[in-house]
Subunit: 459 residues, 2 copies
């Protein structure tokens, strides 16, 4: 696709040379994301200020050009693929930490700030921002907000919706606004802040966020628990979450995931039917009691071994192996289907059992790991597209996974969002009225349907 | 007002005798709330099931009759006063606790369940639901959700928006829907759950809520800190909230509030320039360390005395005196204006200083107390309507309070909501685009404007 003369002129009037491109050779790289889907944008722009975004949306609306907001494209759902062409707005240069206010436990950031960079800036003040996707060194706060992306710590500290106080944004109408508060309580009108979080850039472009900060715990300890079977590990998850001490991470790896992790992490990763990584945090003089409570719950039928990481280096090695799983799976199965379904914690054992049965029935290997403390399991269907039988079975296999999840009282996505790849399944998860209300809300923010068309809501 | 024949017929077709009334002598009592505003409804209904609410909204829409959802009317903003007549829907008989699911840390309740009844039912399971308005023994979960009502514990555990997983509701169109999840993570479409919470019944009637539960702490300790001046107490609030251990309540009482509390609580309440009630919770073997950390921060210039309640009875007496403040103020000043403004915690000293100046300038006594840990101060303007000068000064005095709050980065309401009495001030707190988006969202849920007309959004 090529930018029209009108679009070229409009962009030249808003952005300095070097802050936008209509050259297909340059824009190509902004046409795909971690979903491996791809489409060609007409242009990519690199705003450095809120007012440029306002001017851009106004111009695009006048010209009828789609607008796709983009952080660093680490999402797995195709949420930033410009399937209808138009302008990709890369926020990579709008990356200032505007303010860190420890007294009020908040930080104000532009959307392009990297999650990891924010954490590094907050640490000297004794705070952190709880959402920590596996991609935190190279994903942006704007992307985290767009997808309500969480990570391991959400089990104790919540996702972006629980950790964001307010936003500045530009709606698809071109109108800009502020919503939310600089306070931790507020009852002044409808909650537009949470409405924008998780909306995947379909309602408005976020240009600034006021984030709620949490004090860094003084100490942390990582436990590694291995079990003879996946079921015994899943039952331990239920026991841990039914007692009062909440771990700050409760990760699950099945036998296949363990084999992959061992390839990355070496001997720190044991051979077993399944493993839990359980992290507790707290103040140094109280941590031992918390660890004891969690350890008691982790013990039970099928436990092989429960050991604490001896030092930070061993804990880091365990975490590195866990975090390497997603890219490792990609390398062995380029066409993996990676879902992040979520079920009530007590149903995790049934989910895991059901997934094994679905895998066997469709002859497609399924590897499972993820944030078990939230019931949020990353389900990876590994199929070889060159295997005609597997390729034919994959869609039914995926549909069976979603049917199982919904039957267990769960939902399609815990933290990845819907994007391009899951939107046709949305009517299975939401009733017709909810879906209609979402469409009508969308039309108020973006009457011309220019913001991230083809995403989240089905046609 | 009188119900039309059409409305009478419709109600008789939906509700059993005794489950609705059109008799003005009976409906009168459903025409006012704790705001002391009053209006006459045409009818009051007492649904016992979701389907009755669906049928009711359909009938009212057909007849063009307003609908006002009501818990127990403990709100102070006139949110449940039927200013346009119509049907008051009292949820007092729709009060079943449908399910308590400790393994998944959730409870499913009908809207008429009393907050205190829910807490009592949860305690044997080792859980509680954090929102705890002062009126908890006689306010409903539905009302808490409608107003995003919080209470003292919100400083550590959040308000309803942070403690609700999902809802069932009936929109003003008559369509019913479910939104949210039975899981603690979810990224499947727009967040309708948080949109309904705090919407004061203007978007939909909530007929069921899935609430997120928190484990009851094993121990709790209450500290009473007195200070020579209001400023020194306000500075202590800032210090407490800037260190990592979060109290589960951090309440502030100024000198006038203390005098009133002493009248209720007797010698347990000291004479001082100001007092903080600071509660810490945690596990029994770790609580002492938390209390020490908080106590260190509470100490500083102006501290008179810092003492822990000796036992549960003494703690209860202190809390009872704090909780008696709002009704006590009403008895001495029937026309008090009670606001629940909120500012960033570090600005509380400036807020308190500014309020003293405003009080002096307008010659209207102002008594302040409230949830200082969230910056949420209950500001009570005590004026005598028979004093012509005071009555004339009251509106300007109130406007000056709001201007001060907004200048300090705060907002109009932390937990009471907007209702009838604050809606004309909303355009001071929200920008025009936000307000327009809220109106457009309202029109999607309630195109005929039948749900709680005259509330929250200004005309």
């Amino acid at each position: 696709m090529n930018a029209s003369a009108g679009l070229r002129d409009a962009l030249a009037g808003i952005f300095a040379a070097g802050a936008y491109s209509v050259d297909p050779a340059e824009t190509l790289v902004y046409g795909y994301d971690n979903s491996r889907r791809q489409a060609a944008p007409d242009a990519v722009v690199f705003p450095t200020a809120h007012d440029e975004v306002v001017a851009l949306v106004a111009a695009c609306r006048r010209l009828g050009v789609p607008i796709v907001a983009r952080g660093r494209g680490t999402n797995t759902t195709g949420a930033t693929v410009p399937v209808a062409g138009g302008v990709v707005v890369s926020f990579e240069r709008m990356n200032r930490i505007v303010e860190i206010d420890p007294a009020n436990r908040l930080a104000v950031v532009e959307p392009g700030v990297l999650n990891g960079a924010l954490q590094a800036a907050l640490a000297p003040h004794g705070f952190f921002w709880p959402p920590d996707p596996t991609s935190s060194p190279y994903c942006t706060i704007g992307g985290n907000l767009a997808c309500n992306s969480a990570g391991p710590r959400a089990v104790k500290y919540g996702a972006p919706r629980e950790n964001t106080l307010g936003l500045r944004a530009v709606a698809g109408t071109g109108e800009d606004f502020r919503c939310g508060y600089r306070t931790t309580k507020g009852a002044t009108g409808y909650d537009l802040t949470r409405l924008l979080i998780g909306a995947e850039g379909t309602l408005a472009l976020i240009t600034e966020a006021t984030l709620k900060l949490t004090p860094l715990p003084g100490a942390r300890r990582l436990l590694r628990a291995t079990y003879t079977t996946i079921q015994s590990a899943a039952l331990a998850v239920s026991r841990i979450m039914a007692q009062p001490v909440v771990p700050c991470a409760l990760e699950f790896l099945d036998d296949e995931a363990l084999r992959l992790a061992r390839a990355h992490g070496g001997d720190a990763i044991p051979v077993a039917g399944a493993m839990l990584l359980i992290e507790a945090d707290g103040e140094p003089d109280t941590l031992a009691a918390s660890v004891d409570a969690i350890a008691r719950a982790a013990r039970g039928e099928g436990l092989i071994e429960l050991v604490a990481a001896n030092d930070a280096a061993e804990a880091d090695a365990l975490w590195a192996a866990r975090k390497a799983l997603s890219p490792a799976l990609r390398s062995i199965a380029p066409m993996k289907i990676n879902e992040d379904v979520v079920v009530p914690v007590s149903r995790v054992p049934e989910l895991i059992g059901g997934l094994k049965a679905i895998s066997a029935r469709h002859a497609i290997p399924i590897v499972n790991f993820g944030h078990a403390g939230n019931g949020n399991i990353h389900v990876n269907l590994l199929y070889r597209p060159e295997d005609a039988a597997q390729a034919a079975a994959a869609p039914d296999c995926l549909a069976a996974v979603f049917d199982l999840v919904l039957a267990l009282g769960g939902t399609l996505s815990g933290e990845h969002g819907i994007g391009l790849v899951k939107r046709e399944f949305l009517p299975r998860a939401l009733d017709a009225t909810s879906l209609a209300l979402m469409r009508r809300i969308k039309a108020q923010f973006d009457p011309d349907g220019l913001l991230n068309p083809g995403k989240l809501l089905p046609d």
